[in-house]
Symmetry: C2
Subunit: 215 residues, 2 copies
DNA sequence: AGCCAAATGAGATTCCTCTTGCATTAGTAC
DNA sequence: GTACTAATGCAAGAGGAATCTCATTTGGCT
């Protein structure tokens, strides 16, 4: 396991001391990475998490399975990389109607739409499944969701500036109060929230914020 | 595949028309079922969902692996049966302090304790993982959670009777408003909610209920 | 342009999951 | 108790996932 500490003069030590794909990140390595992640995203959308296997990713991406195992370890490794890549993408425009409750209802609809889409939902669901056993997946999932909270908390901050919500309110709590019942309905209840439910969630979150319960 | 429709007189038709384990449910069949479910629960607790395999369940329960495959199909089938069995167990006593917010905070602690325990948490986590792909697991998970909601909604109904909460309030909404952020913190955030957070969740749910937002 | 090793591809190999066939055990009805 | 057969155990084997070896390709550097 341990590498020799003396300066390698001319012996047959050929083991690189970094992970594969980091020494020559350009050219074929970069192309392969893109092809693998794209194939993984497509297969996740088409087949779901359980049915997506490394062999299929290899076939579709035209990258050898042994290469995928070497660089990502296993299926979850690919999905984690995919998730990290997707979360780096910039967010869209935020609702800004001047009313907190209405903004939250619109945001709730955006959250549902994202979860219904391949890029957002399928990968996130895979992370939920993998996260039950893997701390790394859990951390990535939390990172993704936290990133989205940071991207959207401006909605609550505007309400604070307007004076609709007490100063000292934690904008992230406001977003989480909206998001929690949405995810609960999705992953635990197994159903997509209705528009009526989204409005109720937004009403509860806005009311709690206005009442100073989210500081 | 298709069985002959004529009355079997004396031919070599030996295929039973019901699932294995249903024709002779007593004696060895019952003992094996108990041993398999107990072993599965232990292994889930010790190894987690991903690492629990049929072969290990067979070794620990002293039931042949082929028997497990025949009766439950695969690992998830065993876990589903285990979940259905656990959910049939009676619930414990409910908090009843006369104050909705305090009752909800105590209930929140109970929910966290259940999720931290093998019987509740490990099986539920396995269902969350399996539910991402399996509609059956999703249904079972929803059934378990709904059952718990039904068992605990009395807390909210008492508040309605006391007049602390408007008539027409849906007691299940009250419970779900408490539970959603707990599950959110657990499965999405990857962390166990703190006592302070539990109190905030209870405060928000109680306040929403009192304000008539949960009808 | 030329060199060196990182990265890859193809195939062999190992390990594990799940299925199947057959002989044996044991639950249930009589 | 006896008969019938569902249920089980055991072993063989098919199929797939993951690892390993080695020859080849190719990116990065001079």
């Amino acid at each position: 396991m341990q590498e020799e500490s003396h300066l390698a003069v001319g012996d047959s030590d050929t083991t690189p001391d970094t992970a594969p794909g980091t020494r020559r990140p350009g050219g074929r390595t970069a192309r392969n990475r893109e092809a693998v992640l794209e194939a993984a995203l497509e297969l996740l959308s088409e087949l779901g998490y359980a049915a997506t296997c490394v062999q299929d990713i290899a076939n579709r991406s035209k990258v050898a399975a042994s290469t995928i195992y070497r660089r990502w370890g296993n299926r979850d490794g690919v999905i984690l990389d995919l998730a990290q890549t997707l979360v780096a993408e910039p967010a869209g425009a935020l609702p800004d109607t001047g009313d907190l409750e209405r903004d939250l209802a619109l945001l709730g609809q955006v959250i549902v739409d994202v979860m219904s889409s391949p890029r957002g939902g399928v990968v996130q669901s895979a992370l939920v499944a993998a996260g039950v056993d893997s701390p790394t997946a859990r951390k990535t999932l939390a990172q993704i969701v936290n990133r989205r909270v940071e991207d959207t908390k401006l909605i609550a901050e505007r309400a604070i500036e307007r004076g609709d919500v007490p100063a000292g309110t934690d904008a992230r709590h406001v977003i989480n109060t909206l998001a929690a019942p949405i995810y609960h309905r999705w992953y635990i209840g197994g159903e997509r929230p209705t528009t009526e439910e989204l409005h109720r969630y937004a009403r509860v979150a806005a009311h709690a914020a206005r009442s100073g319960l989210l500081s």
